[in-house]
């Protein structure tokens, strides 16, 4: 299922979060939206998932345009993780989340689908573990598996590389690759774009988001100019190495 955005804009009470966003994701393709915390990453992801009110432009998923086709879009797109809007409760156990997933569908997705999804992603955790006790990569795996179990056309997952040390990032992106492997389109959010060494197939399209100055808790580094809320049109392409500095300081933040 393809995901297309043309001149999409979302504005908040303090100004635009992003404007004139153009995106093209082919069916079964991967889009990585990367940027530091507060750059509007989560907002972009939710917008592409049909779960954010657009203030301008258009978003189409599988030919269903927002906002009229929003209901259909939301059926096609599963949100694995987009905190703070959607996330896994840290105080719930994996099995509780699994049970919840079974209850949530209109038609019950059986336990078999869930187990299948876990096995496809190779997520093998003690189901009694609390989410807060899961390693970040396993938490991502659980989130992706829970989403995958509903057999969506598109999965949206934010903070793919959150909390991951360098060696685990590869595993995180590999999980995304496994989702792609079952033919599901993925829109992922991350601090940094995936390392080309991961060998994602197909190669991800990238949207780089600049830091926005409005977040007071994080003073902008001197070397990064304030691009402010009015971001220029994003160009699909591979990331440059200049974005790597923000990673350590922005762990665990969603936008």
């Amino acid at each position: 299922m393809d995901v297309v955005a043309r001149g999409a804009s979302v504005r908040g009470p303090r100004g635009a979060v992003f404007e004139n966003l153009d995106v093209d994701v082919d069916p079964g393709g991967l889009l990585v939206v990367h940027g530091p915390g507060g750059s509007g990453r989560t907002t972009v992801l939710l917008a592409l998932a049909g779960r954010m009110r657009l203030d301008g432009g258009a978003v189409r998923v599988g030919g269903h345009a927002l906002p009229r086709g929003g209901r259909r879009v939301r059926e096609l797109v599963a949100v694995a993780r987009a905190e703070p809007a959607v996330g896994l409760d840290p105080d719930l156990r994996v099995r509780e989340l699994a049970a919840e997933r079974r209850w949530l569908g209109r038609r019950r997705e059986g336990g078999a689908r869930l187990d299948e999804a876990f096995s496809v992603l190779g997520v093998d955790v003690d189901r009694r573990t609390l989410v807060r006790d899961l390693p970040p990569v396993e938490a991502l795996g659980v989130a992706l598996a829970l989403a995958l179990a509903t057999r969506p056309a598109v999965i949206v997952a934010d903070d793919v590389d959150r909390g991951c040390p360098e060696e685990e990032r590869t595993r995180a992106w590999q999980l995304v690759g496994l989702v792609l492997g079952v033919g599901c389109t993925v829109v992922a959010g991350a601090l940094d774009p995936p390392d080309p060494g991961v060998g994602l197939d197909p190669a991800p399209g990238l949207v780089a988001l600049p830091r926005r100055s409005r977040l007071p808790e994080r003073p902008a580094p001197a070397d990064e100019p304030d691009v402010s809320a009015r971001s220029p049109r994003r160009v699909l392409g591979r990331r440059g190495p200049e974005d790597g500095d923000a990673r350590a300081s922005r762990e665990g933040e969603g936008t």
Binding site: R51, R53, D89, D91, G105
Partner: protein, 646 residues
């Protein structure tokens, strides 16, 4: 089913050293809000005995005009001591003033010096009201002042009963006087009745006497007729006598003439004899002067003889003159007798003539008497009629007097004659002539029990407000998934509702067991509390879902509005119109109303309605929450990053 599972899951999320206590703490929120106040103020009016109150008695005993002693100040003090309504301190004026100023006394009761004196004026024509001054100080405690209204009523009762004893005794004393006077009047009326009886008899007798008198007067008329005839005969005889009288007059005139002639003759003789006597007396005197002029002559015998002869002649002359004088006197006397006779004859004639007139008078008088007696007879007839009228009048007077006597007697019977016990009772009754009998269809009893519905309502609302500070109004994973909005709404509402019901049960249990609520219908109370809690949570849930943090503020506003407009505290009629307008639209209105029914009792129809309305509120707001959730499936920036978060 899904909703229930999701709800359970929601509660399972409370893990961790502190978070695990959140549901428990939430369950205790209603207890905190509902029970604490009720515990503190369960029965404040029953504990007024702990409130210190100063009593200043400056009263001096007095006496009523009837001599009754009134010492009402002391009586009031005694009654206050006995009542124990407040913690009375009997102090002087200065101590009371400073104590009130500094908060040692909640208020002061001052009995002024003229208290008894004024009460003693009760039986007077212009009784004065006695006063007791209660001095408050809201700077100490306003409610304490309000509580005095209770004691004011009781004071009034006690003082009134004391005062009325003085009043009523005086009044009944006067009543006894009036009774005595009415007795006298009754006796007098009886006397009057007796007197009119006598008058009746007298007038009867008078009528009889009138008849007798009339027959007497007829006889008198006959007698007068006879008298008249007799006087006519006498009259005729008198006329004959008058005719004879002139002849007698003529005869007496002749006698007088003769007597006059005789008298004149005798007088002439007497004159002659007197002249002789004078001559003889002169001759004697001449002889004496001769003897003196010729002293020797006296001794001459011739001379002496002549002198003797002369003296003898003089003496004889004297004797003759004496006889002549006597004869003259007799002649005069005879003439006078003749004149007297003449006069007598004239008088006789006059008398005869005079008799003529009285006789005529007597004659006419007798005739007048005859006429008069006829008149008398007629008059007596009128008199008899008059005495008949008199009898009638006497009869009427008697009837009147009898009626009067009966009336006075009745009046006397209506004046109560009371012994002292009866006066006591009467004074008690008159002391409070109207006994306001207060009964209560469904008594709440103590203050706390009466206000429990209100505080239960507050507690449950505050719970709803608190609950969504800790609970998520909606499962966001579910919101992002394909779950129905109604399921989401119920799933988000149910955890809080369940905790709310649990909290309500704890509240009810603690207030029942700890404070003694003794609800009339415990199970219905529990049911209503549960439905109320669920409904309130539904409202709070809806507000929180639709408006986020602003929903909590709205809920707070609603709480304040319901404090004022749910009718839980003061009657709605005392509140301004806007509150009365919103009153029927507030859920707490129905919870308070229903709880009153289940706790104190009342119409079951109210309870049914209240339950239905509360359930309706719950369903309505769950539906609204569902609607809101349909829109919440699409986020906005402000929702993702709320400007305001709690």
């Amino acid at each position: 089913m899904t909703a229930i599972r999701l709800a359970v899951l929601e509660l399972r999320g409370f893990r961790g050293p502190l978070r695990r206590f959140v549901p428990l703490v939430l369950c205790l929120v209603p207890l905190l809000y509902g029970a604490m106040y009720l515990w503190a103020n369960w029965d404040p009016y029953g504990k007024t005995g702990h409130i210190p109150v100063a009593v200043v008695n400056e009263d001096r005993p007095a006496e009523t005009r009837q001599g009754q002693r009134v010492d009402a100040g002391a009586q009031v003090v005694t009654e206050l001591k006995a009542s124990g309504e407040f913690d009375w301190a009997f102090v002087d004026d200065a101590a009371a003033r400073t104590g009130l100023e500094h908060g040692r006394y909640a208020f002061t009761v001052r009995i002024p010096a003229d208290f008894s004196a004024r009460l003693a004026t009760g039986p007077d024509a212009q009784p004065e009201q006695a006063r007791i001054h209660i001095q408050l100080n809201d700077a100490n405690n306003y409610i304490a002042g309000v509580m005095t209204e209770v004691v004011q009523t009781k004071l009034q009762e006690q003082v009134n009963s004391a005062a009325h004893e003085a009043y009523v005794r005086g009044v009944y004393g006067r009543l006894a006087d009036i009774g005595g006077k009415l007795n006298t009047a009754a006796q007098a009326a009886q006397g009057l009745v007796n007197a009119t009886t006598v008058a009746q008899q007298g007038s009867s007798a008078a009528a009889g006497a009138g008849a007798t008198l009339q027959s007497g007067s007829t006889q008198l008329a006959d007698g007068a007729q006879k008298l008249s005839q007799a006087t006519a005969q006498v009259h005729a005889a008198a006329a004959a006598l008058t005719e004879a009288a002139p002849q007698l007059s003529t005869a007496t005139d002749a006698v007088v003439s003769a007597a006059t002639v005789v008298s004149q003759g005798v007088d002439a003789v007497h004159t002659a004899t007197s002249t002789v006597k004078q001559g003889t007396a002169k001759a004697v005197a001449d002889l004496d002067r001769l003897a003196e002029a010729h002293p020797g002559l006296g001794d001459d015998p011739v001379f002496q003889r002549a002198k003797q002869d002369m003296t003898a002649a003089d003496t004889v002359a004297g004797q003759i003159d004496g006889h002549a004088a006597t004869a003259s006197g007799n002649a005069h006397a005879a003439r006078q007798q003749a004149v007297a006779l003449q006069k007598t004859a004239a008088a006789a004639q006059q008398s005869a003539q005079n008799a003529q007139t009285p006789l005529a008078l007597v004659d006419s008088g007798a005739q007048s008497i005859a006429v008069g007696t006829t008149t008398v007879s007629a008059g007596l007839s009128a008199l008899q009629q008059g005495s008949g009228a008199l009898k009638t009048a006497a009869d009427q007077a008697h009837t009147g007097a009898t009626t009067l006597a009966t009336l006075i007697d009745d009046g006397r019977k209506q004046v109560p004659v009371l012994d002292s016990g009866q006066v006591d009772h009467a004074s008690k009754v008159l002391g409070t002539p109207v006994d306001i009998d207060r009964s209560n269809l469904h008594p709440a009893g103590v203050y706390g029990r009466g206000l429990a519905p209100f505080f239960f309502g507050i507690a449950l609302w505050v719970f709803g407000l608190f609950a969504y500070l800790f609970l998520r109004p909606v499962n966001t994973r579910a919101l992002a998934a394909r779950t129905r909005a109604s399921t989401l709404a119920v799933a988000g509402w149910l955890p809080a509702a369940a905790l709310g019901v649990l909290g309500a049960l704890i509240l009810y249990g603690v207030v029942s067991a700890g404070l003694g609520l003794h609800a009339q219908a415990p199970w219905k109370t529990v049911l209503l509390l549960s439905v109320g809690a669920a409904a309130f949570v539904a409202v709070d849930h809806c507000l929180r879902t639709a408006f986020g943090t602003a929903g909590d503020v709205l809920s707070l506003v609603l709480l304040i509005l319901q404090l004022t407009a749910s009718g839980g505290l003061y009657p709605m009629q005392t509140t301004p119109a806007p509150f009365q307008t919103v009153h029927p639209f507030l859920p707490m209105t129905y919870l308070v109303d229903g709880l009153r029914v289940t706790i104190s009792g009342g119409p079951a129809s109210h309870l049914t309605r209240d339950l239905a309305v509360l359930a309706g509120f719950g369903v309505l707001f769950l539906a609204l929450t569902s609607l809101a959730l349909c829109r919440r499936r699409v986020w906005t920036v402000s929702r993702l990053h709320p400007d305001l978060d709690l």
